[in-house]
Amino acid sequence: MSTPTSNYTPRRANWLATSNSGVEENLDLDPELLDESGYGFEEIEEIHWDDAPFTHSAPVVEPVDQNKVSVVVDYASKIYRVRSGNEHFKSKKRIRKQVQRVLGSGWAEIPALEEVSFVVNRGETVGVIGTNGSGKSTLMKLLTGKVRPTTGEVYATSTPIMLGVNAALVKEISGRENIKLGCLAMGLSPKQAAEKYDMIVELSGLDEDALNMPLKAYSSGMAARLQFAIATSVDPDILLIDEALNTGDAQFRARTKKRLDQVRSQAGCVFLVSHSLGTIKQMCTRVIWIEQGRMLADGDPEWVCAQYEEYTDHKSNGRMRSAQIVYDRTLLKLAPVQVEFSEGTRPTRAG
């Protein structure tokens, strides 16, 4: 069936077609033209929609005491670029696609974290929560300075130290040698390392036999315990704890908790990444929720954890719409921070 031809032309098109005829010209709705004819449009206030939507109120300026600041994250984001052999599937250009297919090489870009900014003061314990793959670990890596943010920077009074079960150990050498190597890699002198040795062994709960075996003979639990024990042998000022509380059996956990409390009490400022909301609520004075690479909330632990619980509950029961509502509702209440340094004091030197 062919479309019936009609001589109807849309009205707007008609306007254009006839705009050079005399009568319509006077009805042109450009206020400036109308002004000349004295319609009084000059009194109307102009609004630039791009600059300030109605929902944004004027920013609140908060000066911060420089002696209290511990960590400043200024507009930091991270996009990982990883070598991938399957990139040609996504490539749109035909020739480039073929070249990538033949070479079997390409870059995959993984946006892991959108721009976040926040300021943490001394004495605060900050919990970081979020579902798997939301960008928590990326934020931790940015904080420790092992990975450079794609945009923005991270500033701190001293380099934050990460405690966790991810400390690298050498598989081929014995537990005893690993303890020494790990201590030296953290910058301790051989004397200090020898002093820490007993404490590490006690914390890890490994016996003499196990210490003399190469690490590849260890069970994963034993290796994790040793890693954790080595990592906690330093007393950093800014401390990051990543899921460390959940490893090991009840006995190890009790020892861990004791040591962590000790380290925490000495540290000036603590970040705690955990999936256990109980721990977070118990220990933290402030919680940051990161979801889908975006900072959703930053504030009171009770409130943020409640939102998070509701969100994960909806998600796990397949109620995506409800989950999205919680997401948007939480984001609505976020008061984003913008960091400004007073003239010429933006830090550049290394710690």
């Binding site: 929902t55 940015l142 420790t144 990460m162 081929e172 050498i173 890699a185 913008q338 830090p347």
Partner: protein, 310 residues
Amino acid sequence: MAAPAAERHDGFQLGTQRVVQMDGRRLVRVGARPTFFQYIRDLWRFRHFLWYDSQSRVSSQNNLDSMGRVWMVVNPLLQAAIYLTLFGIILETSRGVVNFIGYLIIGVLTFRFITGAVTSASNSIAGNQRVVQSFNFPRAALPISAAVRELFATVPVFVVMAILVLVIGDFHIPGAISTDVSLSWHWLLFFPVIALALMVMTGLGLILARMVNAHNDVKHLVSIGTRIWFYTSAVIFSVDRFAEAGADWVTPIMHHNPAFCVLDIIRDAWLYDGWGEPYRWIVLAAWGVGAMLFGLWFFWRGEETYGRER
């Protein structure tokens, strides 16, 4: 995972936009590269780590093999035997070389150390990402430790090399000249030469480590490059062979090749009871100091790029 920038939509926000103003003088940038001198000082602070790392890894290098550390000696010896058969006897590169067997043994075994040090140092950053990401130490410690580790691993080889040169170094091959090889104080020149060689290797290793970390492809070029270097360092035949083949221009280049200088001084001291030509010493010392300084500087410039995901 965050949404790609293009698909992102701004959520509505009722919360006020806050601007935090502060004085940043007490803060430092996390992960920033220190100044060069601070970097050297940091490296010195981590010298124990460097030392212990190379030591412990050497001792565990061969523990997958049932013959264990014996391979550290057997492997290079077999290699020397192959070159001896192939080049010395079949291709007769031994012509015009005094004490050819000693010449070859010193060449092959020492050059193995040189390539080994450069190769393992150049892979030390790219191959140790887990260590790089979990500890904060000056990254230059890894290539340096890799080169030092190679030296530790080669110590037994050097001992065997000395014994072999002493025992069969002056073995008479038909058609070649041989003079008596005997132990003398000149043999001690080996130690300063190897120290200078280690400096050259570490410097080159630092440069290559940054390049391999930035582009993994460089790794392939390194293996080709060391092979070319092998044939242009008079390892298995003498420099004169190039001149005989009509390529006179190679000789001056060879005389400025650090690997050739190392081999030439050791051979002069061990086989011919000499002090090594002064010019070789000058060239080698210049290479050692120059490569080390430039390597450290070059590596330091890339300090912030080493921890990234790849």
